[in-house]
Symmetry: C2
Subunit: 167 residues, 2 copies
DNA sequence: TGTAGATTATTCGCATCCAAACAATCGAGC
DNA sequence: GCTCGATTGTTTGGATGCGAATAATCTACA
């Protein structure tokens, strides 16, 4: 972890400070490392790839999901990206004002809004994504192919379980 | 993933739409599942545990780190928690206004600020943390002990690598 | 044909998040 | 003792993030 304390130091201190509590340290290690890794990787991507295009992580995800599935309904972008529709509305406003996406009302259902990339939005993604994918490879380069597959599977099952208990 | 598309569908569509690009799908799977899992787990915790105490994820992390290491310097909280000092200042203002923490200027270095929990901050953490840790156990219950250890190790090495390239 | 319940995207209010700029402080070096 | 570079925490401006409320729309049903 970025902080000055190693995990071992942290666990030792936790045992000192929280004596008497029955704690699941293996679970704590999973959760805290999940967030540290996600945070570190996100910051890395924002600084090394996305800042060139002046994009936040979420703006990038919206562009990417739209690039892959366009034309796509806004509710689907929000679901794929894992953020609220309120957040998406704001991010789409930002991207639309930069001319990267366009929003169109659905012909068939007046409640729905469809999103496309613009020409410049597509060009931006075509230029940016190879570098992004290269960084994706780099941040897990220390893992074997088997480890990567195993890691992705374990994360996927955590997500599936967690979201299942939300519904 | 929460979206309507499975990973297999997503990869197929990516290959269709991005034909001609050499992409590292294993790396993509790692990155996308890392964020989905982190996001899903964070939302789960905010809804099921932290909302009772009207705490955001980050507010909780600040309280937890302070609880374990207090008195602690603000720069150390930011480093342990993985967010900027600017963010920390705002979150500490919120927590201080709720009477959960207090900030004190250092005696020995006028630049530094030290943070403690208040009595009610400590009580809140003592009451909240067992439920939090129980949820930590739940979100990884589907994994064996060996898998949890392996997962934490792989995430830790990704974080270490990513942060090493920042310095 | 009209109504009611459900769904959609947007808005609002507030909290978080960060880079950059700033003021205060520290310590090394002269 | 003074200066300069570095460090700290705060402020600023702007973007994200969300729950709740809102208005518009859809569909099933009477």
């Amino acid at each position: 972890m970025a902080g000055s304390h190693t995990l071992a130091e942290t666990e030792r201190q936790v045992q000192t400070r929280l004596a008497g509590m029955e704690l699941d340290f293996a679970a704590m290690a999973v959760t805290s490392n999940l967030f540290r890794a996600a945070n570190a990787v996100r910051n890395h991507f924002e600084r090394n790839v996305l800042s060139k295009a002046d994009l936040s992580w979420t703006a990038f995800v919206v562009l990417w999901v739209t690039w892959i599935w366009e034309p796509i309904e806004t509710r689907q972008i929000a679901a794929e990206g894992g953020f609220s529709k309120a957040t998406l509305t704001g991010v789409l406003s930002t991207l639309e004002s930069r001319g990267l996406v366009q929003r169109v009302k659905s012909d068939t259902d007046g409640r729905l809004v469809l999103v496309n990339l613009t020409k410049s939005g597509r060009k931006l993604m075509a230029d940016l994504f190879p570098a992004f994918n290269k960084q994706e490879a780099q941040v897990s380069a220390m893992l074997t192919e088997e480890q990567r597959a195993s890691l992705a599977d374990m994360l996927r099952s955590m997500t599936a379980f967690t979201e299942a208990t939300e519904e």
